[in-house]
Structures are given as C-alpha cells and as structure tokens.
C-alpha cells in the first residue's frame, strides 16, 4: 500500500491510476527526459546523410592502407581511426551553442575568478604559452611520422614477411603515436579563448527552473514557490561545480557529487536550509530525470568492443561480486538496511556514483544511504587511483602491465575519471583497456538497476508488508521511471546499431557524439548535481551517524572491494592470457 516517507530517494505508491501519468513525478521524469532526448534527435539526426558521406569518403581513402597487413597496425589504420573520430554530429552551430549554454564552470587553480571569467589579455597570454609548448611537439610528431612511413615501406617491400622489419615498423609507428598524442594534447590547449560564464549560468538556471517548474505545476505544486526555491538550489549547484573544477580537487578525483552533498549538508547543519528553498528540494524528480538521460548512453553494442575476454571481466565478475557482497552483508555483517547494502554493492562493484544513484532509486533507498555510499566510493577511489598503478608497476611482469593492469583497474576502481587517470599513468594501451572495461561495466547499470528493482519489488517489499506480491502489485510498486530508463537504453541502442549498419562509425558519430554528448550529457550532470544538493540540504548529521554505528558499511565496502580485486585479477588473467591470448595479442 501507499508509503510516505520523505527520507527515501524514491517513493512509490502501491496503486495504479491513469492520472499518474501526468500527476506523478516518475512519469514527469520520463516525459522531461524524453523531451530532451527528442530535441537531440530533432537537432542532430538531419546530419546523418552528411556524416554518412564523410565516413564513406574516409573509408575509401584509408581502408586499403589500413588493411595492408594483419602483422601490425599500419599508419593507414591509425589515420582511418583518427579521421573517423573527428566526425561528430554535435559539431554544428546549434551543438556548439548548446555546449556553451550548458557548460559547467571552467577549470581554475588559484584564482577563483577564472572559473567564471577570462579576459582577452589573459586568454592571449595562455594561448601564447601553449603555442610555445605545442610547436616543438608538432614538429617532433611530423618527424616521427616520416620515420614511421620509411619503416613501414621497408616492411612492405619485404611483403611483411620479415619479422625484424615488421618489429621495426611497429616500434616506429608506436613512437609516432606517442609523439602525436602529446602534440595533439598540447595543440588542444592553444585554443584558449576569453569567456564570461556568468550570463550562461544565469540563463541555464532560469531554463532549468522553468523546465522543472512546469512539471511541478502539473503535479499540483506552486510554480512560483518552486522558482523562488530553485534559485537557492541552483546557487549551491554552481558552487559545487566551482569546487569540483578546482585543479587540486580534480587531481584528487573529488567530483561534483561529493561537493553537492558536502555543501548541502554543511548549509543545512550550520545556518540551516532556508525555508523558501524547500519547495525546490526535489531529490527524486531531478535524479529520475537524470537517469532517463543516462539510459540513452547505455548502448548495448558497446559491450562487443573488447571481445569475449572483456565481457567475462566486466559482466561475469561484477554480478558475482555484487551478489556475494550483498549476501555477506546480510548474513554475516548484518547490515540493518537491505537498501543500503544494495546501494553499496552497486557503488563498489559496478561503477561508483552513477550505479549508486540508479540502484538507490530502483530500490527506494533513503537519501542518507545514498550519501554514505557515495562518500565511501569517493574515499576508496582516491586511494585506489594512486595505489593500484604503483602496485602494477612494481609487481606485475612488464609484458602484462598494460593489458592485465588496465583490465584490473577498469574492473575495480569505481569512478571512470580515476580509472582513466590510473590507466593513463601506465600508458596509452592501459588507458584504453581500463576505460573500455569501465565503459562495459557502465552498460551493466541498466541490467543491475532492473534486477534490483524487480528483487526489491517482489521479495523485499513483500516481506516488509507481509503480502504476497501478484503481477499487478509488481506493476503498482515498480518504480516507473526505470521503464523510461530502460526504454531510452533500448531505443538508442537500436538506433546506434542501425546507424552502424549503414556505415561503420556512424553510430558513435550520431549517438555518442550527437544526442548523448551534444544533448543528454550536457544536462544529466546538472540534474544529478541538483539532486545531490537537495539530498544534502535535507540531511542532518544525526541521521547519517545512525548508519555509521559499528562501521558496518565500511566493513562491507572493504570486504566487497577486496573480493572484487582478487576475482577481477584472476578472471582477467585467465581470460586475457590463458583462454584468449590471440585476442590479447591484437590489442
């Protein structure tokens, strides 16, 4: 039956009425999420024909060179890859405008004003400094290309049958890639331009206020009270991004979710949350809308990227760790809240904050439970980001550091940013493997959230209420926004595959680099920030302290992560070096 508890991340009522579809926030989250995605489709899909032509031309230009040999990756292979990556649907005028419109605060290190403003003279000075650094790197990359071309030509003359010449070409090409990568990173910093973000932030805040205000009005709440309250939530959200874009905080991997909760809790437990802000403290509404947008980036074709070895590391280890940790949490550690147990399991085994959000919403966890999970993840992510590459460098055999090390880090470090940082520290290949394993785990969020929603609806809630759960009761209780989340994932996965069937690379260009990065992602981060600020503003230390008694969540996290580290390493070794060594050799 109906539950009303303001503490929950998501609250659902056990009864169905058709009017829910325009009165309940679950459905409004779906409508608003799909509205944004539909706008993305309208803006970017007309580009499909043009991008298809571009990709076909690229294939025609480089494909022959790319497939000259299967002994190593030729220069043509890399050029084909580089050229395809540049094809992006979001590179149109509207896409660029949207990117400015939804941009978060800029990076800054010591001068806080740089987060919002940079003068013409400061931009010119920054640009000149970057150009001075980039020019020699560019020249070195051009030189390395000439050497690589000569080495490849030699190997080709021998019909790619001479192992030594092949090896020399491989080394020269790898050297060219390294210098080219450094040059292109340095080159990207030469594009420094003056900016004034304040106007954009005001416009974005006003747009969000109206966007969510319409939903609130439709749900019978006061539009005016919401708008007034939203100004405060928005200010704290901007402050959170301001802190997250500070250079040191970025280096330590302390992202916006932490700062949003931190500032929210700090305000509510010191000067108190202003009463006028309370109508806009709508954790569930923001989180569910963000999750529908997240669904669009869960693309099932992505999981084939790293082949069978990767699927075993990401999709077999992860649910095993989840279930074992949950079991131990209930049976031996005796975590009092099943929802906290589930949220920590997803946070630790799947992919940190995004998985914690999805699971907390799917199992209707309390806001303090989500806060605690995010906090645990943050602490361990920062530690693992530094410790794991050091362990790999000092203990792993040199030939296994990049792939085995990358897969190990990708499967265990919670946050994607930290995975990329740790991977990049070991080398480009480790970065690619680690980031790809993490990406495949990201795709698992949808499956896990659905499984958790079903489990809590049919088992946990049935036990709590003492009622047998029939098919209709499952439907009543099932968090409806999950339907929007899964539907977005299925629809965009199908579109992605159909684009790729037209010409290889059209899916990433249209969906990844179009609707997802050019629309959904621009707003998703902000929506999650709004929800975390709301969680913080409605939390007090006493409630949070209750969950920390006995250190059980910490024990659970440490157990789960230790098990995760052992199992991931074992499975990664078996899959990459025992079962599929020939696949590993191609990476």
């Amino acid at each position: 039956m109906a539950e009303k508890n303001g503490d929950q991340v998501v609250v659902d009522v056990g009864k169905w009425e058709w009017s829910e579809m325009w009165k309940k926030e679950d459905w409004w989250a779906v409508w608003l999420g799909f509205f944004i995605l539909l706008m993305g489709v309208i803006i970017y899909f007309p580009q499909a024909g043009k991008l298809e032509q571009e990709l076909t031309a690229i294939e025609a230009k480089y494909a022959a060179d790319a497939q000259k040999t299967d002994k190593f990756r030729t220069i043509g292979w890399h050029q084909l890859n580089d050229a395809k990556k540049k094809v992006k649907a979001k590179d149109i005028a509207v896409g660029k405008w949207l990117s400015n419109f939804a941009k978060k605060t800029h990076s800054w290190s010591t001068n806080p004003a740089n987060a919002f403003f940079m003068s013409e003279s400061a931009a010119t000075a920054k640009k000149e400094k970057a150009v001075a650094k980039a020019e020699p790197l560019k020249a070195a990359a051009a030189e390395a290309l000439v050497v690589a071309q000569a080495a490849e030509a030699k190997a080709e003359t021998a019909g790619f049958a001479n192992a030594q010449l092949n090896e020399e070409a491989k080394t020269a090409i790898a050297n060219w890639r390294d210098t080219r990568l450094k040059a292109s990173k340095a080159q990207s910093k030469t594009k420094a331009k003056p900016y004034n973000q304040i106007g954009w932030l005001l416009l974005l805040g006003a747009s969000f206020a109206v966007f969510f205000g319409i939903g609130m009005k439709a749900m019978g709440k006061s539009f005016t009270a919401f708008i007034i309250g939203f100004t405060f939530i928005w200010l704290v959200s901007v402050l959170s991004h301001f802190a997250a874009t500070q250079a040191t905080m970025k280096a330590y991997g302390v992202g916006y979710a932490f700062w949003a909760i931190f500032f929210g809790i700090l305000i509510s437990n010191t000067v108190g949350t202003p009463k006028f802000a309370m109508p806009a403290v709508q954790t569930e509404f923001y989180i569910k809308t963000g999750l529908v947008l997240l669904g669009a980036s869960i693309l099932f074709e992505k999981i084939i990227t790293i082949g069978t070895a990767g699927i075993f590391v990401a999709w077999v280890v992860t649910p095993t760790v989840w279930l074992v940790t949950y079991y131990v949490g209930q049976k031996y550690i005796k975590i009092p809240s099943k929802r906290l147990n589930a949220t920590i399991c997803s946070d630790m085994s799947v992919c940190g904050v995004s998985a914690a959000i999805a699971t907390a919403a799917a199992c209707k966890a309390k806001k303090e439970e989500l806060t605690l999970s995010v906090g645990l993840s943050l602490v361990f992510t920062s530690i693992m980001m530094i410790v794991m590459p050091a362990i790999i460098k000092t203990t792993f055999p040199v030939d296994k550091q990049l792939i085995l090390g990358g897969a190990w880090m990708g499967g265990t470090i919670d946050a994607t940013g930290a995975v990329a940082a740790a991977g990049a520290f070991l080398g480009e290949k480790a970065l690619y493997v680690a980031a790809t394993i993490k990406m495949i785990q990201n795709v698992l969020i949808g499956v896990m959230a659905f499984a958790v929603a079903i489990y809590f609806t049919t088992r946990v809630e049935a036990e709590e209420t003492g009622k047998k759960v029939g098919a209709m009761e499952i439907w009543y209780r099932f968090p409806k926004f999950v339907i929007g989340f899964i539907a977005a994932s299925i629809v965009f996965s199908l579109i992605y595959t159909s684009f790729n069937n037209q010409v290889a690379g059209l899916g990433p260009a249209m969906i990844d680099q179009g609707v997802v990065k050019g629309m959904g992602d621009l707003f998703r981060g902000w929506f999650f920030t709004l929800s975390f600020v709301s969680i913080g503003l409605a939390t007090n230390f006493r409630e949070l302290k209750e969950h920390l008694v006995g250190g059980k969540p910490l024990i659970l996290y440490v157990f789960g992560q230790s098990f995760n580290l052992c199992l991931t390493l074992l499975v990664a070794y078996i899959m990459f070096y025992v079962v599929f060594p020939e696949l590993t050799a191609t990476i």
Binding site: A243, G253, V271, A421
Partner: protein, 113 residues
C-alpha cells in the same frame, strides 16, 4: 531568514562554522593539496599525466572521459581488422552474457530472506 530544520546551532555560530569550513576548503585546494601531492608516493606523476591528457579525475561516467571514446575506437577497430573471428556476437561472447544473466537470476533467488 527562516530555516527548515536540521541545525541545532545558533545563527552566529552557524555562520562562523560555515565560513570557516569554506575557507579551509579553499586553503586545502590552493595550498595544502598541492603540497601533499608532492609528498604522496606516485601522486605527482599521476597528476602530471592527468594535466597533459586533460583527464578529469572527478568524472563519473564513461561519456565524460575522452579516453573511453578513444579506447572504444582503438579496440573496436583492432578486433575488426586484426582478429575478426573474435569480433561481434561470437558463441563465447554470447555465453558470457548468458552466464551474467544466469548469475543474476539464480543469485537473486538465493539471497537470504
């Protein structure tokens, strides 16, 4: 200004704590954090790599990281060109997905009541 709940502090103390914490955060970000960075084993090197590669250590999702896009393109093309027999929906690959779903199905059924 009326406040909603949570705090038991008086106004003056509340503001003092709030501003002190914000100041401490600033001090950590600008002075203590960078100093610590040089004294934690390996941290400085990781930060240099992050700055050079433009990686945001605070990113939460693969779409926020350029490395994921590059890695996807690199590995996808590597498999397609160099090991096409391992690319796509191969039998071992499908078995991996089925095993995952079976683990979830039986695992959730076996969880303690």
């Amino acid at each position: 200004m009326q406040t909603a709940n949570n705090t038991t502090m008086n106004k003056k103390k509340g503001w003092l704590v709030l501003l002190s914490v914000l100041f401490m955060v600033y001090i950590f970000g600008v002075f203590i954090g960078p100093w610590l960075q040089q004294h934690i084993f390996g941290m400085d090197e990781i930060v240099t790599v992050m700055e050079e590669s433009g990686i945001d250590g605070g990113a939460y999702y693969y779409t926020e990281i350029e490395g994921a896009t590059d890695g996807y393109a690199y590995l996808d093309q590597s498999l397609q060109f160099l090991a096409p027999e391992h690319y796509g929906l191969t039998l071992p690959f499908i078995s991996g997905i089925i095993i995952c779903l079976l683990i979830l199905y039986f695992g959730f059924r076996c969880l303690p009541r």
